[in-house]
């Protein structure tokens, strides 16, 4: 009798263990499927217009992810928004506007240079007794920019924003 009982117990235990492992595996698979991946985008559409819109958005997303390359017979338009602040000690609002605009133009030039030529970054950290004692980062840009145009200027609450753009063509780089 006792032998039969132990057999029954062991069988029950084995069944329970196998059931728990199966359940755990199912749970794991469920969690993996829940993680969203960018490659799977589900758009439900009933009309033809909706399908077209979805296709356009997908195309624009794909274009945005691609890096723009300067090719022959092709122009690249670079647009930036520079910001400048009006100083506190100005004689008139006109002077504040003029100074803020000039600072914004300089900032826009800097942004164009950063986009076209890139930034040089130097970093230095001093660690003493497992602690950061001094952290220093230097970034610099140096460029010559010709034919940049101001598209729009907005001045609001002491902040001036200048939208500036530059058109780059392949021929400009070939000549130099």
């Amino acid at each position: 009798m006792s032998r039969d009982n132990t057999m029954k117990h062991s069988l029950l235990l084995a069944a329970l263990l196998s059931a728990s492992t199966i359940y755990a595996q199912e749970g794991e698979t469920a969690t993996t499927t829940l993680v969203p991946t960018p490659s799977h985008i589900v758009i439900e559409c009933k009309s033809q217009e909706c399908v077209q819109q979805a296709q356009e958005t997908l195309k624009s997303n794909a274009k945005a992810s691609e890096e723009e390359v300067l090719a022959p017979n092709k122009e690249v338009r670079i647009s930036v928004v520079g910001q400048g602040v009006a100083p506190m000690n100005t004689i008139s609002p006109a002077q504040a506007y003029a100074l803020a605009k000039r600072a914004a133009v300089a900032d826009a030039y800097r942004l164009i240079a950063e986009k076209v030529k890139g930034v040089r970054v130097d970093g230095q950290d001093l660690i003493q007794n497992m602690m950061v004692k001094r952290s220093s980062i230097r970034t610099s840009v140096d460029a010559m920019i010709r034919d940049a145009n101001i598209v729009e200027t907005i001045f609001k609450e002491g902040l001036c924003e200048v939208e500036m753009e530059i058109v780059l063509s392949y021929a400009q780089f070939v000549q130099q």
Binding site: G84, L99, R102, A103, R138, T139, M144, A148
Partner: protein, 137 residues
């Protein structure tokens, strides 16, 4: 025999044209202009604008002209300062040098941006009511 007064009006007009054109050519002067603007942490920090007569002759090739109103009795610096936005737009076509330095020390940053028009030679012609400025290459 040809009459003495026959070609007089024609010759006079040619002479007048030559004299006027030579005078306008002689009236053109060459100036050296430089501009430098510094912004610190997005705030205007320093600005310098220098205009001086050129002591040596500059190159002959020129860019498109900039025409300004002559209101300050042939004073180029005053005229340019009065119409600085127009001159700045013109300078942008010539090319401006930008230099930006940002230093972050212990998570506190400070930035300097310098915008420079390198010393450039300009041919300047003063008329009665206009100043014609042309950058020389």
């Amino acid at each position: 025999m040809r009459s003495r007064n026959g070609d007089r009006p024609f010759i006079r007009s040619i002479c007048t044209t030559i004299i006027v054109s030579s005078l306008s050519f002689l009236n053109a002067q060459e100036y050296l202009i430089s501009y430098r603007y510094v912004a610190k942490n997005a705030l205007s920090y320093n600005e310098s604008f220098h205009v001086s007569h050129a002591m040596t002759q500059c190159g002959s090739q020129s860019y498109e002209p900039l025409i300004l109103e002559n209101t300050d009795n042939n004073n180029l610096k005053a005229t340019l300062l009065k119409n600085f936005d127009l001159f700045f737009d013109y300078a942008k076509k010539l090319g401006l040098h930008v230099r930006h330095e940002e230093h972050t020390l212990n998570h506190q940053s400070s930035a300097f941006t310098t915008l420079t028009l390198k010393t450039t030679c300009f041919k300047v012609e003063f008329n009665d009511s206009f100043v014609i400025i042309q950058a020389l290459k």
